[in-house]
């Protein structure tokens, strides 16, 4: 098991900030943690890495207890850039990681080139821009080629080129067998990175595969929309009218084949069937409607 979080509960003062979180990851994948500010994303990641205590539950990473420091040989956690030391250079930071993790110093140059920070590797961090700091943080967490990579808002402050580069690196790592759990507010980037999204709302977790949701939603183009509407209403089949020639259909008790059969039986001609893509933002809007409207 790569990640095993069972019934994780954390209370802060009297408020429950994590309400019995369960996460099981058995095979390498990219999981996005999405939720509004204060929903508990960072708290969850901090609890998983023993930076925060919790009252109930169990966390095991790569088969080891979360408070066993040796997990960090294979687990990396990208946090916010305040943890960098302004008076040291990027090289100093990477050298430190290499020394404590027994990684060859020659790896520094390699990883700096991969991330694209070789030009300012020897500059003091206090002179770095926000993007440069994110590059350094990324270098620091991938230099040990982790099996599990936890990332808290890694895209903050990145320009489009850097964001594209970071996505490329994360996808490469995933292909190499790294499991990545990434919290982000950038829903477009999340869409490009993964279909597996864990939405967090008030300390609770809602696991969703957008691919599964998408595979059940269809846009169907029909020759006569008025007749289709009539037929479907008579048969009590739920649908939505999306435009002059299109209806939306979501598989529930009635599957796609039954829906098509129903239309065909009533001499309606189906011109096109298109699986409806559900993006992170669309799903976020559905789930967090209340927050958005307030």
């Amino acid at each position: 098991m790569i990640v095993e979080v069972s019934n994780l509960k954390k209370r802060y003062k009297k408020q429950m900030v994590l309400k019995g979180i369960d996460i099981q990851v058995e095979t390498p994948q990219i999981i996005a943690l999405v939720g509004p500010n204060g929903s508990g994303k960072t708290t969850l990641l901090n609890c998983m890495t023993n930076l925060l205590s919790f009252q109930e539950g169990k966390v095991r990473l790569l088969g080891k207890k979360h408070n066993d420091a040796s997990i960090f040989q294979q687990v990396s956690y990208l946090q916010d850039n305040r943890l960098l030391y302004g008076n040291l250079t990027g090289y100093d930071h990477l050298e430190f990681i290499c020394r404590v993790q027994n990684i060859a110093i020659s790896k520094i140059k390699e990883v700096a080139m991969r991330v694209g920070m070789e030009k300012y590797l020897k500059k003091r961090v206090r002179n770095y821009s926000l993007g440069m700091k994110q590059h350094l943080l990324l270098s620091m967490v991938i230099i040990n080629e982790p099996k599990l990579l936890l990332m808290d808002e890694p895209l903050n402050g990145l320009d489009p080129t850097s964001a594209i580069n970071m996505r490329k690196i994360l996808l490469e790592l995933y292909k190499e067998g790294t499991t990545i759990i990434v919290s982000s507010h950038n829903l477009d980037e999340i869409d490009r990175l993964t279909n597996t999204i864990y939405f967090m709302k008030n300390g609770a977790l809602l696991k969703e595969s957008l691919q599964d949701i998408s595979s059940k939603k269809y846009l169907i183009t029909i020759n006569d929309i008025d007749k289709a509407r009539k037929v479907l209403n008579e048969k009590n089949i739920p649908f939505t009218v999306t435009d002059k020639y299109q209806v939306g259909f979501e598989e529930t008790d009635i599957n796609l084949q039954s829906f098509i059969d129903c239309l065909n039986d009533n001499d309606l001609m189906i011109r096109d069937i298109e699986a409806q893509k559900v993006g992170a933002e669309k799903r976020y809007r559905e789930l967090f409607e209340e927050e958005l409207s307030s």
Binding site: Y12, T49, N50, L51, L52, S53, A69, S70, I71, F72, Q73, S76, Y77, Q79, D80, R82, L83, L84, Y85, N87, L88, D92, F96, I97, R99, V100, Q101
Partner: protein, 372 residues
């Protein structure tokens, strides 16, 4: 070791460390500049001191005269008058012997003066000098005469050993505490404040190693700063001062007996005792940092603890307390100069023991420490 070098790097490459080193150079240079400026007034000051004593002796003479006029048979008063007159005569002679090459003659006369002053006081006469001043001056002069060392001004000397002593006195009287608190006061608390502790906590490192490396880094930085201070003092003293004598005597009291130690011995004691005290402060800083997690609160708590400890040392004179008071070396100069009823080393075991206890408690606390 891997963490230690990182800890050292964090401070050595900081602007703060550079400013502290620059500050040390500036203070030492200013001290030497002050000595150079005031050197010309040393003779004037000595002459004024003689005049002050003369004035006092003349006043006494008038009193004796009046008493004797009233009672010519008063033998005690007559003896006091004789001793007072002898002191006046010596002071006149000393006033004429201010040339540096005639220091031995001057020292002999001064010794004679102090001896008479002591006798004068013992016989009931009133004198400007206290018994302690007299006995200390006698011991110093005798040692200087014995070793043929010219006397140096206590505060404005340019002689290299005496200048080093002035700097070390400044260092052991608050200087070292200020430097160490500026240097490493935030070594742990800032990690919590900036959340950089999260970087250390998410590495394959035992958390206890973080405390050990910070303790060692702090001690190394203290040693480096102290060596730097001594080297700068040596250079400035060598360039702007003169050779002097490292066996120059320093008067101390051991169980009410006046003794002397050489400047070298004094410096050794001073550096040893202030270092023991600094080790305690470092471990206290680490402990309070983990407890409070904020630099200002940590620093004020450390200063508060030191103040309470110092007050305890000053106001509780119970001799066996020297075995139990870990704060007696906070300002160790008095501890070296007045070893009455206690040995200079008596507080070292308890101070080092408490340093170790604070360190062990800090190690335990960091295991469960969180950045909430």
């Amino acid at each position: 070791m891997r963490l230690l070098s990182f800890e050292l790097k964090k401070i050595i490459f900081s602007k703060k460390f550079l400013y502290i080193l620059l500050g040390i150079v500036v203070v030492i240079a200013l001290l030497m500049a002050r000595n150079i400026v005031f050197e010309s007034s040393i003779q004037k000051e000595a002459r004024e001191r003689i005049d002050e004593l003369l004035e006092f002796n003349f006043a006494n003479s008038n009193i004796h005269q009046a008493v004797l006029e009233a009672d010519p048979e008063d033998e005690e008063e007559e003896e006091l008058q004789r001793l007072n007159s002898a002191m006046i005569n010596i002071l006149y002679e000393v006033r004429e012997l201010q040339a540096p090459n005639r220091f031995e003659e001057r020292l002999k006369l001064e010794t004679e003066y102090y001896s008479i002053a002591e006798e004068y006081k013992q016989k009931g006469g009133d004198h400007l000098l206290s018994y302690q001043e007299i006995s200390h001056s006698l011991a110093l002069n005798e040692k200087l005469l014995e070793s043929s060392i010219p006397p140096e001004h206590e505060n404005y000397s340019r002689a290299l050993p005496n200048f080093i002593k002035q700097v070390v006195d400044l260092f052991i009287n608050l200087g070292a505490i200020i430097i160490i608190l500026l240097l490493i006061g935030e070594i742990m608390s800032s990690e919590f404040e900036n959340r950089s502790i999260n970087l250390l906590f998410t590495q394959p490192l035992k958390r206890t190693h973080i405390i050990t490396s910070k303790l060692l880094a702090s001690i190394i930085l203290y040693v480096v700063t102290t060596v730097f201070l001594l080297v700068v003092t040596l250079i400035i003293g060598y360039v702007f001062g003169y050779k002097g004598f490292f066996d120059y005597p320093i008067v101390i009291e051991v169980n009410q007996q006046v003794e002397t130690v050489t400047i070298i011995e004094y410096l050794r004691l001073a550096i040893t005792l202030v270092s023991v005290s600094i080790f305690l402060i470092i471990s206290l800083c680490l402990l309070f940092s983990i407890f409070f997690k904020y630099t200002l609160v940590t620093l004020f708590s450390v200063l508060g603890a030191l103040l309470i400890g110092y007050v305890l040392t000053e106001f509780v004179s119970w001799a066996p307390l020297a075995w139990f008071n870990p704060f007696q070396y906070v300002l160790p100069k008095e501890m070296i100069l007045f070893q009455n009823g206690r040995e200079w080393w008596q507080g070292i075991p308890v101070t080092l023991l408490l340093t170790a206890v604070f360190y062990i408690v800090a190690r335990q606390m960091v295991k469960t420490s969180r950045v909430d």
